[in-house]
């Protein structure tokens, strides 16, 4: 691999840059997810997700993405994966579970894809 091979401009498929635009869009959603560092916040969300989401002023798209537990939708709504991981953790989903969901394959198939990257 040569360093001068690099193409610096074309879009990267399947990848959303979490930049200022996304940071503005997802602020409420990410702030809610950041709150899940605390155990009592996680419990409050599980006990009543609707009122918890409302207390952080999520918009309807963000709420629906959370109801659907759909990570790609959350990302489209401005979610940042580091904060979303804390919401996923509430449902005991780890990074392979999230990866499988986003790529539309089984968790075993996702793990096999990761393993194959080492061949």
């Amino acid at each position: 691999m040569q360093l001068d091979e690099f193409d610096h401009h074309t879009p990267i498929e399947g990848t959303t840059f979490f930049d200022g635009e996304m940071a503005m869009k997802g602020y409420a959603l990410n702030k809610m997810c950041f709150s899940f560092n605390k155990a009592d916040a996680r419990e409050a969300y599980l006990a009543d997700p609707e009122s918890y989401m409302e207390s952080f002023k999520l918009n309807e798209g963000q709420k629906q993405a959370c109801r659907n537990k759909n990570v790609l939708e959350m990302i489209a709504e401005g979610g940042n994966i580091y904060y979303l991981a804390k919401l996923a953790g509430i449902y005991k989903m780890n990074m392979q579970d999230i990866g499988a969901q986003q790529t539309g394959v089984s968790v075993d198939a996702f793990k096999e894809k990761l393993r194959k990257a080492g061949d």
């Binding site: 360093l3 200022g20 991981a85 804390k86 999230i98 996702f110």
Partner: protein, 282 residues
Amino acid sequence: MAKIIGGLTTSHIPAVGNAIANELLDEPYWKPFFDAYPPIREWLDKHKPDVAINIYNDHGLGFFLDQMPTFAIGAAHEYINEDEGWGIPVLPPFKGDAPFSWHIIESMVDDEFDITSCQELPVDHGFTVPMQLFWPGLGDNPNLPRAIPISANTVQHPIPTLKRALDFGKALGKAIRSYPEDVKVVVLGTGGLSHQLDGERAGFINKEFDQMCMEKIVTDPESLTKISRHELVRQAGAQGTEFLMWMMMRGALGDKVTPLHQNYHIPISNTGAGTMLLECDE
């Protein structure tokens, strides 16, 4: 005067923290990863650094998007770990070296780095997992050094350029070497290598790029500054931008280093895991 004896790199994946907590070190999945560490620990046991400058990226524990620093340096007497929300056990506090932190901050602001100084900084797995890997037992390990956390923003673009990261390291090295106390220092660059957690490209790993980075970080780190941040995302994955921590570490070590040990293993969790011990030439 303070002296930098070497640099260490490692991934800092949360799953590693869980594997340590659950004592899975000899399981077939984990063994090829954990086997990289005993030779480095031998070197650490021999040289006994007093201070570990731990360069990591916070993942949403110490900072939030409300006020997100580009470069933050801990200036506390101790650093607490806290619940991150998904079950990794909380560790006891880490002892800092606040006077040394302030010396570094003074020197780096003089050198035109716009530091956020942190007298309170809860440290997440990006900081704690490397400490556990290099100094198992932590507080029960007599060789556990004092630690100074340095966090760079990789959560939200714009992240620092690879050139700025390397230059940060150079200024950090100058700051460390100008400290009048006789302390032996190791600099940790944690995170990476290639991985992407989010989007339809989740699970992306790039072995060829990682191996190129592991080679060039030793022999020619300047050449890596040609990589744009956009291209780093393409080649290393959206979270592979953590390679910036390796650049910061490398800058501090000076021109010549000798790689005494290295390992590369795919996958740990969703990541290509790189481990290196770079000794500073006299």
